[in-house]
Symmetry: C2
Subunit: 699 residues, 2 copies
């Protein structure tokens, strides 16, 4: 070989090696240093959907509803242990689980001295007594743990009258009319266990407390050391003795009443003309001058009630929480309310826990499972939790998902929620098959029952708005966290029942669900899949699937209602809606622009920190609608879009209510000043919301 050649080869080799190094360094992306960011994994999603098992939900429900589990009862405590055991299971449990206990004020009937409703004859003798318990129809209504029907927090007392004290009502009897709950049916052979309808002896229990949360510790967690309001200063309890009765007892009272006929809208299906009293009919079952004696012996008691929390730690953003919860306590067996939800909760935690323990999956963000205590008494467990961890939850929670009663009936999905959750629910339900005949998705089935015409999307399923009917209330109203409540529900063409007929009675049992509400548990499974898909999408998606621009439709419709129904009135009082128009338009523009920026970013390969910043804007948007000083008379309600609306115009609640008050009373300038103040509160909130959606370095 010649030197020149060797040199030539050597130089060539060096050049090739160098070229290779250069190519290797610059031309091949380095996987190890910049892995694709963890995102929603459709395979995992499909696995979860496939593993959610209807029969396991059924078995969960059987166990959960085996015994009555009134808040703070021994069986309620047993279920705390059951949840802990499931969530600490080495093969299907979560990363951690624990119970936290609050000392809260509950209300119970006296066991020694039952509440009674009697008809007392002219000579003072009892001539008729209402039933003190429900009829033991299936063997489950007679146990010692079935709490006597009562109105929780109604005060004790023994008023006696027959609708006579026109201007000084001394006591209240409450019943559910077969027209409202049973589609008019009332005979034993037409009701449970022969159908899903309420038996004549069924009595709906409930809390009669006006607010929510522990009555003694408003805005403070009910830990033992917390300050407690003196009982004499508690507001929100009913002022007079109150007792619920079944419709068979109501018939005995109501169908014997004398006096003028009640208005048509007051008539029901008890098979007689309802009259207003006073006194009994002379030709009826009781002497005309008989009286009704109501004796209520309810007692307030400080009791320990627990929440159970279970956590799956997020792999990438553990400080972002997807919260999913339901209450645990029931009035009696509570198969539907709340165990149908808890049965789903347990199946979801099992499936996710199993993937977790196998090492197959860990979500991007943390998932928190919650089993709340004492919801039936006024959302107590969830409210105390939000009071205890107010700041932390407000700073970190992506969304709260509530599944309380998971199945009211088998016809369709029903979702209540704030606008930013609409899209994720749509995405989830489009991919899940609907139970029942046909090959529809849950979405396609849903849209047949609840729909609306959206100016943006065309015909879409319609979400309901969130009131305060379950544990989502403190999350949305007090903390401003985007929330939703998911269930399967009725075909309204088939029943007009206000709610499933055995609601809050001793007939809400496993067999009731198994035979009438959801035989085969396919609706339970549909709810589990919907909730599961929503939870996975919220916890695993790189970009948070919260579409804040969907608030624009709500704002626009509130604005239009204000303009159409209040505009002229406001103008008379020199109040302009102009600033509100501007604020809504600004929100719409900023939300749309943010949507554009997200789309653009999604096409590239954005930095995780960049996406985190955008996600924070999405997550925190709901918080910007909070104003803790907006409604000083409303406890916990701070959300200026979803606070209770007493005014008839479906618009911003503060505005609607203030207008209604100013118009209804012959009120002076102060009432109109309050209208102006409420308008400014909304405008400030909307302007603030728009400001948080702007590019973050624009002030």
């Amino acid at each position: 070989m010649q030197w020149t050649k060797v040199l030539g080869l050597g130089l060539g080799a060096a050049a090739l090696l160098g070229l290779g190094i250069i190519l290797g360094h610059f031309a091949i992306p380095k996987k190890a240093n910049s892995p694709a960011p963890q995102d929603l994994d459709l395979e995992i999603l499909e696995t979860v959907m496939g593993q959610l098992d209807a029969n396991r939900i059924r078995e969960n429900l059987r166990e959960l509803s085996r015994e009555p589990h009134l808040a703070s009862s021994p069986r309620d405590e047993d279920l705390v242990q059951l949840l802990l055991q499931r969530w600490k299971d080495p093969e299907s449990g979560l990363d951690s689980a624990g119970a936290s206990t609050y000392e809260v004020l509950l209300s119970f009937p006296s066991q020694e001295q039952p509440n009674v409703v009697d008809i007392v004859g002219p000579t003072g003798g009892i001539i008729h007594s209402c039933h003190r318990t429900e009829e033991n129809v299936t063997g489950e209504q007679g146990g010692p743990d079935v709490v006597q029907p009562y109105a929780a927090y109604a005060p004790s007392g023994t008023p006696q009258a027959v609708n006579a004290a026109k201007h000084g009502v001394a006591g209240v009897l409450v019943y559910t009319d077969p027209a409202d709950i049973n589609d008019g049916l009332s005979s034993p052979d037409e009701t449970f266990p022969n159908s899903w309808y309420l038996p004549p002896s069924g009595v709906e229990r409930g809390s009669y407390y006006e607010y929510f949360g522990d009555p003694l510790t408003p805005y403070l967690p009910a830990v033992p050391s917390s300050f407690r309001v003196d009982l004499a200063n508690v507001s929100g309890f009913p002022p007079i003795p109150t007792q619920p009765i079944g419709f068979q007892d109501a018939r005995d009272l109501l169908c014997n009443l004398n006096g003028t006929l009640a208005p048509a809208t007051w008539q029901g299906a008890l098979g007689c003309h309802y009259r207003l009293g006073p006194g009994f009919r002379p030709d009826g079952d009781f002497p005309a001058d008989s009286q009704v004696n109501v004796s209520v012996y309810n007692r307030l008691e400080l009791r320990n009630s627990s929440n159970v929390l279970g956590i799956i730690r997020g792999a990438v953003e553990p400080d972002r929480y997807v919260l999913y919860g339901n209450h645990r306590d029931s009035w009696v067996h509570g198969a539907v309310d709340p165990s149908s939800g808890t049965a789903v909760l347990l199946e979801l935690s099992r499936v996710l826990g199993t993937l977790l323990k196998k090492g197959t999956w860990r979500p991007r963000r943390s998932i928190v499972f919650a089993s709340w205590g004492a919801e039936e008494f006024g959302l107590i467990g969830s409210t105390e939790f939000t009071e205890e961890f107010f700041n932390k939850l407000q700073e970190r929670t992506v969304a709260y998902i509530n599944v309380d009663i998971s199945v009211f009936a088998n016809a369709t999905l029903r979702v209540q929620g704030t606008p930013p959750v609409q899209t994720v629910v749509f995405s989830a339900t489009k991919e899940i098959r609907s139970p029942g005949p046909g090959d529809l998705s849950i979405y396609d089935n849903w849209i047949r029952y609840f729909n609306r015409s959206s100016p943006v999307y065309g015909l879409v399923p319609s979400l309901g708005s969130l009131g305060a009917g379950s544990d989502y209330a403190p999350f949305i109203h007090f903390l401003g966290i985007s929330s939703m409540d998911i269930a399967y529900t009725y075909d309204r063409s088939k029943t007009s029942a206000r709610i499933y007929p055995t609601y809050h009675t001793a007939f809400d049992t496993f067999d009731y669900v198994d035979k009438f509400l959801d035989p085969g548990f396919s609706s339970h499974q549909a709810v589990a899949r919907t909730a599961g898909s929503v939870i996975l999408r919220l916890s695993d998606s790189f970009f948070l699937p919260l579409k804040v621009s969907d608030y624009s439709e709500t704002l626009r419709s509130f604005l239009q209602a204000a303009q159409q129904d209040l505009g002229a009135l406001l103008e008379q009082h020199s109040i302009s809606l102009g600033p509100l128009v501007n604020a809504v338009e600004k929100f719409e523009a900023e939300a749309a622009a943010l949507g554009q920026r997200i789309s653009t970013l999604q096409k590239g390969s954005p930095d995780p920190l960049q996406v985190r910043m955008l996600n924070d804007q999405l997550m925190l948007l709901e918080r910007t609608f909070l104003n803790p000083r907006a409604f000083p008379e409303e406890r916990y309600y701070s959300h200026v879009l979803w606070a209770p609306r007493t005014g008839s115009v479906v618009t911003f609640p503060g505005l609607s209510n203030a207008c209604s008050r100013a118009r209804d009373t012959a009120s002076g300038s102060e009432a109109w000043a309050e209208v102006q103040r409420q308008l400014s509160i909304v405008v400030t909130a909307l302007e603030g919301a728009a400001a948080t959606l702007r590019p973050v370095a624009d002030l």
Copy 2:
């Protein structure tokens, strides 16, 4: 060439290229994909420190204080334009700048009908008049833009009396005694322009409004459309006519008073014995039955007042804001108050802006410069800003740095702030040379004047706590943002002046600063460097230099004060401090553990997202001490550790105040219930704070 050779060479070449590719890909770290995270750059820091120029600060001050610039005056508007021009300068400006205007209620004396204080003889004739203006000592006290001395928001009226109406004070005269402001000196040759002391005609103006923010729009931004409280319903204005006068006029009145001798602590340096009245001395300058007539003609006016904001966009975390501000409006020329701060602000923005425009530097986080309007009337501009952007600022602001009066005197640094900012101020000041003789750092000089013995650090400079004396108030008290106020100040062994003597008078001029307060402007430069270093550290450090564990010392000292000074009393009323002890201990433990985790992480090469999560815990800690329902009677104050304390025990203010009220009045159980409630509010806040410091996936 033979085929085998060619093949051999070809294979060899391929192998070399391949080896090169492999080496290039695996052996050389890929800079572009995983750059070291942007962190504080000590070279940039040194450059900034070096470029902050004393003479430029001096020139800024000359321009800023050239004319009186009372809030909303034409000159105030000129300065808005000056700021905008500087911040939009193509070579030394910021990324963006803009002014935002609020319509706010200010108070001015009438130009047509000046406020007067006269002595009226027995026959009704005026026998003596107080000066209506300050003496034109330097040619700057006589211009048309020098506002007549007045008490802003004091109502109009013309009361007449001589301290006679014992139980019905009709008007108030206010003056500053030479004992309090002039170290006892009062003759013209001992005062400005011959010294820094206040001339005899000097009058301190000020706002007499009790709260802060625009009086007509509490909790709402004072944009034109916002709801305004009816004037008749505004609370917080002084109830009776009030007028400030100079001490030469005060001498005429006070030294001629009759009656018993005033208490020793009321005596001053006017050269006579102060008496309490009623009436004048028979042997004095005025007939004994003369009267003092006070005529106040102040007018409330809605005026436009602007904030100016300038932004440097963060390179990595633009949604994290380091806010740095000062007010712009003065009472007269306001060379010290506030222009000494604004002169520093402009120099800092110039130096940082220049680096930015050169492309040398861009901070990790955004820096926001603010020039607030109408501070002198009650922190109005800053308060309206926090009302307008409440949520956005609360979610994103790392800290607020205030430099109002930057130099009171030349002796030492003085910092007020919340505990988490202590460390960053210490770090900054240890690296900056102190002005004046010797080779001390600002830190080493500071510790000689203000120090305390810390159980953790030993002897350290002591930070003061933040009251409501400048624009930091809404940031710390209303938004819960870690805040600080930075200035250079007195050697207290050399003067006992309550504040620099020409405060809020027409003698607070450029020459006053240039000759007496800070000749050479080295103290201004020291403040600029301190603020600059703090801003750079907060905006550029990868790990936020907010040391939350420094709150432990405060909590521990508040707890000890509660135990020592209130413990026995509380025990008598069956109120236990046990839960507070537990909460403080829990906070201490969690803060220490978080500190440990940060240390560990700092030793590795943590992921930016991981650090962001930790930083969020640090940034948001201060927020967890807010409770908007804690002090319903205190406007804006929500911080349970720093709300105003009226009780004498230096502990948690709500507890201190409630105890003080319960003890002072012969109060019943309700006052003690309020003590218990305040205790629970603090315990809940501390437990919540500890919870936010825990590892984020632990609930």
